[in-house]
């Protein structure tokens, strides 16, 4: 029977893995994601979950172990945070290139220098181009759901890719919210058992990860890129099936909030969307037609859907929760792709970015109000004065 529980993002991820009936789990501690492994270890210990629970000697080993398990045909699960995500970097491309649909939960944490444990998306964002599927959740419920949806998409025979299932550290990973845990039969209908096309097996020996020649590199890259042209179709199908079986209302690619008549929009990733929606309610009361677009997937980037959603607004604020030092906009990562996405629109909106929610900072309601003010000013002056605003660190605060 479906039941409702108060779960943090980490507990929801662990429940997601349990309901997905993962077969191999590899852990290594780093906060804030550790709570996922604590939950899973408890489940394995008390017999709730029948899985192999291994301790990696580091994050590099974690991904390697799950890669091997996936190659042998198991549904494998691991996770990390912050510097742990970057320590495992070497194995990301082989996991995607070798087509192992393992899943890695990431609860974001800042990278070093030293020891700020706060939430910031830079850790996971730095791994976005390694050929994995990737997306952020905004609520514990969505963490649970994304865990299932990602396995379903990643294990599709046309896709066969590993997945980063990301959530904001602390804001999401450690704040409980209502989560509906479904009936096991629903999950089994949605997510059939994983069957690897070429598992490592003594009865039918295969080679995984052999060295390829230089002239085979380019075609292999093209083949991997080609897979991402198929993924949106699979995401659509999986999300529709999910909505039907579990009675949810997810849009496959974007969460939009009050965008029907919006003149202005926030572009937000992750759990800050919840504050953003509150801010929108306030701003709407003041008569400002403003809405929000939140991508549920970062890889593949939902280009067409974002362009469609923002085609009628006049100005967009990209709320950056990660850093791209020295990048084109000298700020975050999202605005690069957002601007590129909107470039071909017949009437493209003005776009600027706001550095907020870094190093564990909370993005406050008043910050969203400030962003809205800047957007209005931009439209009034018909000029993008700055492409990046560092909230709290500007020499002259515009008002």
């Amino acid at each position: 029977m479906a039941q409702e529980k108060m779960l943090s993002g980490c507990a929801a991820a662990a429940q997601g893995a349990k309901y997905a009936e993962v077969e191999v789990i590899c852990s290594f501690p780093i906060r804030p994601y550790t709570a996922i492994m604590m939950e899973l270890a408890r489940m394995v210990a008390n017999g709730e979950l029948d899985a192999e629970f291994l301790h990696g000697e580091g994050e590099h080993a974690q991904v390697s172990v799950t890669l091997g398990a996936s190659a042998a045909g198991a549904r494998a699960y691991t996770g990390s945070s912050g510097v742990g995500v970057t320590y495992a970097f070497e194995v990301y491309s082989p996991a995607a290139g070798g087509r192992y649909p393992l899943q890695m939960a990431i609860a974001d944490r800042t990278l070093d220098p030293p020891g700020d444990f706060g939430s910031e998306h830079t850790d996971a964002m730095s791994a976005r181009d390694q050929g994995w599927l990737m997306g952020w959740a905004a609520t514990p419920q969505e963490v649970f759901d994304n865990t299932l949806i990602n396995y379903r998409v990643g294990e599709d025979p046309e896709v066969m890719l590993p997945q980063f299932v990301c959530q904001d550290g602390y804001f999401l990973s450690h704040i409980p919210d209502k989560v509906i845990l479904p009936d096991m039969s629903q999950v089994r209908e949605f997510l059939p058992p994983y069957s690897a096309p070429h598992p490592l097996s003594p009865t039918c020996p295969v080679s995984h990860g052999p060295q390829i020649r230089p002239d085979q590199g380019a075609p292999m890259d093209a083949q991997r890129a080609g897979t991402f042209l198929v993924v949106p179709k699979v995401i659509k199908k999986a999300t529709n099936d999910f909505n039907r079986i579990f009675g949810r209302k997810y849009d496959p690619f974007l969460e939009t909030y009050k965008m029907e008549d919006a003149q202005y929009a926030f572009f937000v990733q992750g759990a800050h969307a919840n504050t953003c929606k509150n801010a929108i309610n306030h701003l709407r009361k003041q008569g400002l037609k403003i809405g929000m677009v939140r991508p549920r997937w970062i890889r593949p980037w939902p280009t067409v859907q974002i362009a469609q959603a923002l085609s009628k607004v006049q100005a967009v604020a990209s709320v950056e929760t990660s850093t791209s030092y020295g990048g084109a906009m000298r700020g975050g990562n999202l605005i690069h792709e957002l601007r590129a996405t909107l470039y071909d629109l017949p009437k493209r909106p003005m776009v600027t970015s706001f550095m907020a929610g870094l190093g564990g900072d909370v993005v406050l309601l008043e910050d969203f109000h400030y962003m809205a003010k800047i957007l209005q000013k931009m439209v009034k002056e018909k000029k993008t004065r700055k492409v990046v605003y560092w909230i709290g660190f500007e020499e002259e605060k515009e008002d």
């Binding site: 290139g97 070798g98 087509r99 192992y100 066969m160 096309p197 070429h198 020996p205 295969v206 080679s207 995984h208 990860g209 052999p210 060295q211 390829i212 020649r213 230089p214 002239d215 085979q216 075609p219 292999m220 093209a222 083949q223 890129a225 080609g226 042209l229 029907e260 008549d261 280009t303 067409v304 362009a307 469609q308 085609s311 071909d344 629109l345 017949p346």
Partner: protein, 151 residues
């Protein structure tokens, strides 16, 4: 709101086809939802069959060696053996990181595998009988540096 209006309009139009036809002459039909960006902006990617790599580079396991991925095309020098000097001590067999030396029991001499030797010269360095020497690939007609296409 807009979509609702369009929907109700559509219903009344379906009800009375004649008025619809008359109206169409004077009034343009309601525009469908404008598609601002087509789904196929990425075009398509097609890798010719003769260049395609097996899915995930996963291949049937080789019984002796992986013929699908021959990896010696960056060799600059190759070890050449002097069978007179060779004492069959198998030091080269042990030293080679890619298992490119083997002992041919029938002919009782060492055999070199050109497909996987990268020319690292460890065997030459280790040979106690001084039976191996490094010869540039350019000195051979089939030298890998002469190949226009790698295998």
């Amino acid at each position: 709101m807009e979509t609702k209006k369009q929907k109700t309009k559509g219903k009344s139009q379906r009800k009375n086809v004649k008025t619809k036809a008359r109206k169409q002459a004077s009034k343009p039909a309601p525009k469908p939802r404008q598609v601002v960006m087509p789904e196929d902006i990425y075009g398509s990617i097609s890798v010719p069959e003769d260049r395609a790599v097996p899915f995930g580079a996963i291949t049937p396991a080789p019984v002796r060696q992986q013929e699908l991925f021959i990896t010696s095309n960056w060799r600059i020098v190759r070890p050449v053996i002097d069978h007179e000097k060779c004492t069959r001590c198998l030091t080269c067999y042990i030293a080679c990181p890619d298992a490119c030396w083997s002992f041919n029991e029938k002919e009782e001499k060492m055999e070199w595998n050109w497909k996987f030797c990268k020319g690292c010269q460890v065997c030459i360095h280790e040979c106690p009988a001084d039976a191996l020497k490094a010869v540039p690939e350019l000195d051979f007609e089939d030298g890998v540096v002469r190949l226009e296409k790698p295998f």
